[in-house]
Symmetry: none
Subunit: 186 residues, 4 copies
């Protein structure tokens, strides 16, 4: 039984990512999951509910931050690791992210699943922690916005290769650029 549930969730992820919430149909999801459409309703009662379940699952599994663990490292290392880690994750889940952003923007996601908000709050908390550790007195809000902006622009303004496919050197250039920017206001 767990089996069918998993099949449905996997299928739902695919279809939602490919089509978005509104254009995904329970029919297609059921078909992709190789399950009767009703089965899906038995388990999730509602398309919206299935969607949220899926999102929750994804958010837990793919986008956990370890930001707190590194809060105590020195500032350069802290920023570099955050940026590298997040850019890696975002670029690897590009399509998923786009969908999450889109659905957040359309208001289809309850606040505890709102992707940009989650990112932003996560960043703020981590940065606050680090600044406390390091006794830095700077505008947490703005720094968080700055880092968030860097991340977003990597999702929305992509031309060339995604971050995770860059060479070590190329990544270093980018990371360093952003690091300088961030340190300019400390």
């Amino acid at each position: 039984m767990r089996d069918k549930t998993d099949q449905i969730i996997r299928a739902a992820i695919n279809v939602f990512v490919k089509k978005g919430f509104l254009q995904a149909t329970t029919q297609e999801i059921a078909k992709e999951a190789d399950v009767a459409e009703v089965t899906l309703y038995r388990k999730f009662s509602t398309k919206q509910n299935l969607f949220e379940t899926v999102i929750k699952k994804v958010l837990e599994n793919q986008f956990q931050t370890k930001i707190i663990k590194i809060a105590e490292e020195n500032t350069d290392s802290f920023f570099l690791k955050i940026l590298d880690d997040r850019l890696e994750t975002l670029s690897k889940n590009h399509k998923m992210i786009k969908m999450l952003l889109a659905e957040s923007l359309m208001g289809n996601l309850s606040n505890d699943l709102n992707f940009p908000v989650l990112i932003f709050n996560g960043l703020k908390k981590g940065i606050q922690l680090h600044f406390d550790c390091m006794n830095i007195n700077a505008n947490v809000e703005l720094v968080a916005q700055q880092i968030g902006g860097i991340l977003l622009s990597n999702v929305l303004f992509i031309n060339g290769a995604p971050y995770f496919e860059l060479t070590h050197e190329e990544k270093k250039v980018i990371l360093n650029h952003h690091l300088q920017s961030l340190k300019a206001n400390l």
Copy 2:
């Protein structure tokens, strides 16, 4: 006759902004425009077509940049004016922007209407121009991404008051913060 067309466009803007492309119905638009649904089809032939017409119009009227005009000013002034101008516009059209972003992310917008792409390319061109004027040798792509990120984060991470409602002083703090960041890599 222009009259009804305008009514329709105005209504369409409202409804599309409020609901997004998929959930907006031609019926609702017609009703809000106080026009028979058919009239709308006579004039725009298709919901998609109406949508694109509306977007095009909005993009022309609301989001024209004067970035080129200020490319020759000194770097501080250049960055500050861009940021201030864009933040003002974006924050004033917050809901519209969200819709534009969402639809772009969902792939409902042909490339010449793709909002983030348009912003990013506009920024790049302006920055390139300025750097040429000033004989600055820096990574245009990354600077554009940086500015783009700042703008995006103001759309997506808003908690408090929107930019355009801030006091002169508050704006100054923000602008200055970002200016320092930008100059760190020149």
Copy 3:
């Protein structure tokens, strides 16, 4: 003004023949006639009316029989000339005929425009006349049906070249075949 009316009728013939009554749209006819859609309504008040006008016109111009003129010729000549004349006309107006038949079958044509009925009655009258002249005592109804059948089968069962494109010899074979059949019951 006659001008526009004629344009409309010509266009209507084309479109009705191409699409049939139901699938022809007044829009398409107007466009093909290079006339505003309303103009068509000014002149014909109704799609049905336009259709009937067109049919009437076509029936008068294209399908007039001279069957009465030849009623006095000898029987062989009479039958041969009828068959040849009708087959020539029908094969030259193949698409039009198909449309007329179809619309008759669908009941879209008032009785005085009902194509098969018109043909059948015309045949009966001519045959009766001829039989009276020649003092032949035979079943007019059945002979008319027979000739009608020959004509219909040439419209509906066409494989090869249409009648009017055949050589003189080929036509002769066909005509003779049918002549023998017809004479078998006199």
Copy 4:
């Protein structure tokens, strides 16, 4: 479940025969079948599809010929039986036939459902078979056309009572007439 499907098919036959393909509405069919309109779409996916399914079914059930079985009988018997059998069937399904013909003429039927073509080919095959058996050397094409014509004229030129309601004597007159015609060219 077969139940509802059958209800729909029966209703569809009625409505299509009464109104033709274009003017029949899925709504009316659903209503007559006492079924929700959607149910019809679940089962047949498309109005066109439903139509073709219905036609196929009708063609199989009502218009099967046993022409091959009688190919070996003597010529008189062969022709008489064909004519009688087909005239009986056609006259009993007069409205259905009219619809089938009309839709064929309008080009709404794929070739394997094209009614006149099916009839004609059936006739040709049977006649060929018979001629082979009997060592008759005659123009199969023309004979098939002739028989086809007889049948068609009985569908299209009806005034009086339909064939199947005639007395034995009346039928005999008609059949004999046509038999003489047919034999005239052997």
